[in-house]
């Protein structure tokens, strides 16, 4: 298993290199010029040329890529054109809020979806199942910005128990401030996890090994909660990892609504300013995070299902 995961990490270097090159080219295909953005409409052509030269944007494309890739692999993502600060610092400052938000949202989604998914599977097609499925459909169908605003209205304004946004200090403060945005994302993620768990758990409950476990006189709670659940986790891990992959760059709206100083908000700002190095750095970070999530998902499969472990050993 460790060998398999090690190889996955090595493969991911090639994936990252491809991400760097493709994103480098694509960004420069978008109309608009960072120097014009920076200097404003009154800039003279001489000024623009001078700044271009200063930033190395006048060099041939091939040379720009080579130097960017070289520095990227040494851990230096360059300097922001607009902010005049190292991209490393800018991105790193924004990385933790986004990561915490995502983790928090995932935990909330799991807390919501696992019991409800199990309830649905146990009471399939009966009233509890119908209620859970209907509610989750509604929760899934609500636009995130609207759901976020409604949560602010309820918890921050009406009840006044949670801050409406921003980012706190220390573990408690961060937890408190990120509760509403995490709940917004969690309520979007939970229905998908719940439906996945419901169907995989139903399949497990109907299986022969569950029947056999019942024939040994085990309690239903053990049969479903442990023996069937362990088998039902693999599809849950798949759906979770795919969704986290999307959410890494897809929390923009939530971050804007709740003023979370995260990567999503930074991305929007940098694209508007054509801040090439920052966009570049963000894409690289998003790519690395997606790859990391996938590797973690592979490791989780292996922990849960010994047949996956055997497959990894054989590869």
């Amino acid at each position: 298993m460790w060998g398999f995961l090690g190889r996955r990490v090595l493969h991911s270097i090639w994936v990252l290199a491809a991400i760097i090159i493709v994103s480098f080219l694509v960004i420069r295909l978008i109309p608009g010029d960072p120097v014009v953005q920076m200097l404003g409409l009154q800039a003279t052509p001489e000024n623009i040329a001078a700044v271009n030269e200063d930033l190395g944007l006048d060099l041939p494309m091939g040379q720009q890529i080579t130097s960017f890739v070289q520095r990227a692999f040494q851990g230096d993502l360059g300097t922001s054109i607009i902010k005049r600060a190292p991209v490393n610092d800018i991105v790193f400052d924004r990385l933790l809020p986004s990561v915490y938000l995502l983790l928090y949202a995932t935990v909330l989604a799991l807390i919501i979806s696992v019991p409800l998914g199990a309830l649905s599977a146990i009471y399939r097609n009966r009233v509890p199942d119908q209620i859970v499925r209907l509610t989750s459909m509604v929760s899934f169908a609500m636009p995130q910005f609207w759901l976020g605003l409604m949560l602010i209205l309820l918890f921050a304004i009406q009840l006044d128990v949670l801050p409406s946004g921003g980012y706190g200090e220390g573990f408690g403060g961060i937890l408190l401030h990120l509760t509403l945005p995490a709940l917004t994302i969690g309520l979007y993620l939970a229905p998908q996890l719940m439906r996945t768990l419901r169907s995989s758990l139903i399949e497990a409950i109907d299986s022969d090994y569950v029947e056999a476990a019942r024939s040994r006189g085990y309690r239903e709670s053990r049969v479903v909660g442990k023996l069937a659940m362990r088998n039902a986790l693999v599809p849950l891990i798949s759906v979770l990892s795919i969704n986290i992959g999307f959410l890494i760059s897809g929390t923009v709206i939530v971050e804007v609504v709740f003023q979370v100083p995260g990567l999503g908000a930074l991305l929007v700002q940098s694209v508007l300013n054509r801040d090439y190095p920052v966009i570049q750095g963000l894409i690289l970070v998003f790519g690395a995070m997606v790859i990391l999530v996938n590797i973690l998902a592979d490791a989780a499969y292996a922990v849960v299902d010994p047949r996956v472990r055997a497959g990894m050993a054989a590869e």
């Binding site: 299986s207 022969d208 090994y209 029947e211 056999a212 476990a213 019942r214 024939s215 040994r216 006189g217 085990y218 309690r219 053990r222 023996l227 362990r230 088998n231 849960v304 299902d305 010994p306 047949r307 055997a310």
Partner: protein, 340 residues
């Protein structure tokens, strides 16, 4: 014939010794869109202490469901509609959920047709056997481990201590069924329900598993119901055989009597349909004419009549009650001995 028809119930031969299990008038129904399907219809069975009862019949004849009813596991949406199932003197149909769990944990164990799917794929076999011992026999982790190794050794698994950490997918079909048997033995059951235990196995492995079951039965004086559609398996392993057709028991007899002097035309057809490997008979595979019965459209009286070579008009009035043919044999067909 009339004297046999009038024979009282107590003359049924299997009621002679004190049986461990007695099923009387069991009716199991499955609701369907077109009406109620009776998977077991007025079924009577007994199993003595240490006896192996073979339960034979085509697919859909109700043998598996009857077996499952004994431990309260008739699959949804089926339900037991009537009759009684007495195990060690108590009617299990009246058991509470807790009593039923206790019955499954300590008295009656079950093994299944496909050991590949009846073992949980994500736990080691050691974990699964130990779990039975810890939950049902209250052993500690260490005790359960030692006892598990003993059980695996007893069912003929080589290097059992190393096999404890194997997963089901790492074992062969025969080995998996041995593990299932070991798990069934863990609760020291008095009755083992073996539902097609050899059907998914190679013929050579079938034989080994049947031998193992026979040895275990002798050494523990365990009773067993062996469900199979394979007359060969039944002939090898059962002391007594009950033949089931369309939810009804049509004949009960000691195995040797059943094979040498079958009474019910359906039993005869089943025995005739066994493939023969004698040179003159090699190409002639006899089958039972017609289709397995549609349980929604059963004829009045005997359900086998549409496929029966001895069928006559009176078949529609047959009560299907088992009547004694000889001291140990009873059959539901009143016409089988007429002019045949």
């Amino acid at each position: 014939m009339t004297s046999l028809d009038a024979a009282p119930r107590t003359d049924r031969p299997e009621a002679s010794a004190t049986p461990l299990l007695t099923i009387e008038g069991l009716r199991i129904g499955f609701p369907s869109l077109e009406g109620l399907v009776l998977a077991a219809n007025d079924a009577h069975l007994t199993v003595g202490e240490g006896e192996v009862l073979g339960l034979v019949g085509e697919s859909g004849s109700g043998k598996s469901v009857t077996c499952r009813a004994i431990v309260g596991m008739v699959p949804h949406p089926g339900a037991v509609l009537g009759g009684r199932i007495d195990f060690a003197g108590r009617n299990v149909l009246e058991f509470s959920k807790a009593e039923m769990r206790e019955l499954r944990a300590r008295q009656i164990a079950m093994i299944f047709q496909d050991p590949a799917s009846a073992l949980n794929p994500v736990f080691t076999i050691g974990h699964q056997i130990s779990e039975v011992l810890r939950l049902n026999a209250g052993l500690s982790r260490a005790e359960a481990r030692n006892r598990s190794i003993e059980l695996l050794e007893r069912v003929g698994i080589p290097a059992p201590d190393r096999r404890m950490s194997a997963y089901p997918h790492e074992m062969s079909g025969g080995m998996r069924q041995r593990v299932m048997i070991a798990m069934a033995l863990a609760g020291e059951p008095r009755l083992l329900l073996a539902d097609e235990p050899t059907t998914a196995l190679d013929v050579t492995i079938q034989d080994q598993v049947l031998r193992l079951l026979e040895d275990l039965r002798r050494e523990r004086n365990m009773s067993m119901i062996l469900v199979s559609h394979d007359m060969g398996v039944i002939g090898t392993a059962a002391d007594r055989v009950a033949v089931m057709y369309a939810g009804r028991i049509v004949e009960v007899a000691p195995t040797d009597v059943l094979f040498s002097r079958p009474d019910h035309p359906y039993t005869r057809a089943l025995i005739d349909a066994m493939p023969q490997l004698t040179p003159e008979d090699r190409s002639d595979l006899r089958t039972i004419p017609g289709q397995p019965p549609d349980l929604l459209k059963l004829p009045e009286g005997c359900p086998f009549a549409p496929r029966c070579p001895l069928a006559r008009d009176e078949c529609a009035e047959v009560s299907m009650e088992l009547t004694a043919v000889s001291p140990a044999q009873s059959s539901a067909c009143p016409f089988a001995r007429d002019g045949s």
